[in-house]
Amino acid sequence: MTRKNDNNEMLKGTLDMMVLRTLITGDAHGHTIAKVIERTSEDVLEVEQGSLYPALHRLEDRGWVSSYWGASENNRKAKFYRLTAAGKRKLTSETSRWRQMTRAIALVMGEATGSGGQE
């Protein structure tokens, strides 16, 4: 049980970070956010919808994103999310934490993993 939880927590953390990162380029609704993450990861990461919407909800709850209702590209009523100032700060700190982490992991795993860090 606990192990699975830990796993979840980490995934949640990364998902939150990626969602915030996505919103830096502009406000977006859930579908766009998922699309952008998938496309920029060259379809390696497939966003599980089951966690995207709870994640958005959580981010909004913590004040990192705000939301408003608008029209989507296809003119449908959609809930758009916008990065708040607090969200931007969070993104910065999360990014640097992430960099440290990946660097550390790369060191442990040896040079083989190569291009792990984004220096």
Binding site: G30, Q49, G50, Y53, P54, R58, D61, R76, K77, K79
Partner: protein, 879 residues
Amino acid sequence: MSWRRFFRRSSSDGELVQEIDLYLAEETDDNVAQGMGAEEARRRAYLKFGNPARVREETWKMNSVAPFEGLLRNVRYAWRVLRRNPGYALLAIVTLGLGIGGNTAIFTVINGVLLRPLPYAHAGRIVHLDQIAAKLGPDPMGLSVQEVRDFREQNHVFSEVAEYHSMTFTLLGSKDPERVVTGVVSGNYFDVLGVKPLLGRLLIPADDSLTAPPVLVLSYAYWMKEFGGDQHILGRTFEMNDRVHTVVGVLPPLPEYPDANDVYMPTTSCPFRSAPTMIANREGRMLTGYARLKPGVTLAQANVDLAAVSQRLAVEYPKSYPASAGFAPQTAAVEQELTHAARPTFLILLGASGLVLLLACANLTNIALSRQFQRSREMAIRMATGASRGSLFCQLLTESMMIALAGGIVGMGIAAIGSKLLTDYVAHMTTLATGIRLDGSVLLFGLGVSLLAGLLFGVLPGYVASRVHLTSLGDGERTAGSAGGTRIRSLLVTAQVTISFVLLICAGLMVRSLYNLLSVDPGFKSANVLSMQISLNWTKYQKSEASRSFFRQTLDRVQTIPGVQSAALSMAVPLNSDMGPMTAGVVMEGQPLHPNEPAPQINFELASPDYFRVLGIPLLAGRSFLSSDEVQAPMVVIVNDRMARHYWPNDNPLRHRVAVGGGDKKTWATVVGVVSDVHQYGLDKEPADTMYFPVDQAGLTSGHLLLRTRGNPMQMAAQAAAIIHQIDPQQPVTEVRTLDQIRSAQLGTPRVTSMLLTAFALVALFITLVGVSGTLALSVARRSKEIGIRMALGATKQNILKDVLTRGMTPVLMGLGLGSLVAAFATRALVKLLFEIKPDDPVTFIAIAIVFLVVALVGCVIPARRAARVDPMIALRTE
């Protein structure tokens, strides 16, 4: 997870649904754009999204406060269950309401009387100081002016010692001439008590000087009653004892302690206390003392110090402290004095009401348990669908808590009414009764008791329910209940019988004690006698001739009222608990005094010629007083039977002489009559040796007029008072009561105590009976199949009847055995309240055990007969 989110969960769920719809629509569009068919595009979109319900659930949970959510659900569920069983809910709420109400009402009294801090600063350090002469009698002797001074100057333990006595004076200047109860106190008295004035100032040491102008301080109650709380009362003047007194202050509301004083004056204003002869007389013991312990000094240390002072005085003034009298200082904490009469009674009543509540809880547990066994299938289903044991337990506990809280609300209503009724009763025992009211701590107590009750009867069924096995989903449920359940219930019944038996024994003892009191022959006939107090204004009747003539006129004229058979005067009225006995050392002529023993102390009373006739006290020998027994005539005395047997056991007491007073000032009186004994100072007190002197020869200034009437005595009261006012318009008439009223007032406290205990005990018996009978009926219902089989196999109705009765009566017998043991110890708490009956009185124990057995047997016979009527065919077929 904020509360805001919690309350708008539904609307945010609605938004989420819209978001999901949008996602599906966009994804479908994308898929179509990639060239899929509409149907396939939608299918893929759904596939990719996964389960929308799960997303919604997860978000919903994120918005919930889990424990609160669970509680709300449990409350809603419990509400539904109770709504479906209104009978059970009502029974449980009323039972608990009665139990909680009884407890809270008693607690209200305890809170008001025993727990509320006294309105004195550092009340725990205030001590009542007096002295006793152990060999002369148990009552305190009082202190003289010199003794108060000596104790004040020579002790090392008190920061201050104040003197106090109370007298009744006539106060002129109000609407009518009035008799006011006056506390006569030294200037530091209110400092000792630690009381601050409500208006103006209180008495100060400067008021104690002989040159100070006379001042008065009013009690709060008197100020409200007589002057309607007039703010401008300060400076108003009243005439008392021929001097003009100025009101300088008003006291805050205080307990009527030491007496119900209307006004307070300094010692120098009291004509008796300030008389030079009184001040000079070391044996003029008319005062008592109040003192404040220095910080850190205990009462025990104070007693040691005071004993040393007392010994020093005895050495210095041997004549005033004869060794034969056994003089010693006596102290008591004021807190203790104020509450000692009520404390044992109310702790016992709280215990009794607590036990009744416990019984009620036991019964409800029993009912809830059997409901639980019926619901075991429901519980098993809920468990099978994923409820945890903990959540089942919580849910059942919520059910019992809701019942308990509802019961608590009913109980508070009962307590509000009950404590009002109790206030009068408590007023007989302590002057603190005015402090009885519902307040925060009472509400808290009620809530606490309710929650405790809910826990008590919720935990066991909850536990049983959470132990349910999934197997009870099968057939098992229809056969007889588990042996474990039956055993728990039998134990509960045993406990109930034990508790209620103990309560019944206590109530039985109290009732028998009351009966003993009621059947005491007081020695006089109280029917149709009116009593009214007439205390003369001493400044007006300073000459004894004046008072004699007043009383003679009064007696002559009230006898002319139609309906009055006879009239008499006396110093005291029998059974009037306001006053203790007056005693005097007496010398019997011809009987040698033992040099090292004090003269025998004998109660004395003053009576007019018709006194014994009015009260119906039989004259055993000699004659009653005559109008010829006047001042100039030879002194005569009438003794009671007890005294006659005591001092002249083999002789006719008539014509013997007795002398009152010491040394050369003896006055001899001849015994002219013997009357039978009277319970003068309490039905529970043995009559003492008593001498009666004629009022004319002894001189009476304050006494009672007694009228024996035809018909209702109260109807004569107005005419008698009118006659007295014709003789002296300024003469107040007080305490107009019939002797029957005085007598029943004496019985008031024991009567109410035993009534309350009996009520609690009967409720307990009833609850227990329901428990015994209900448990047995349930077990019969469960075993009907078994009984059917046994009958089919040849068991007779008698066999079945006997078997069921044995099962029913076994816990009762066990409970009775256990109860007798417990009662043998528990009843010792009652010792102080019992009159002429021992707490382990075997007759009471046996009688109540028999009553209990009979009642329990009746309770068992009903289900037993039902068992015997079981039709084997039907019982077997229902299976």
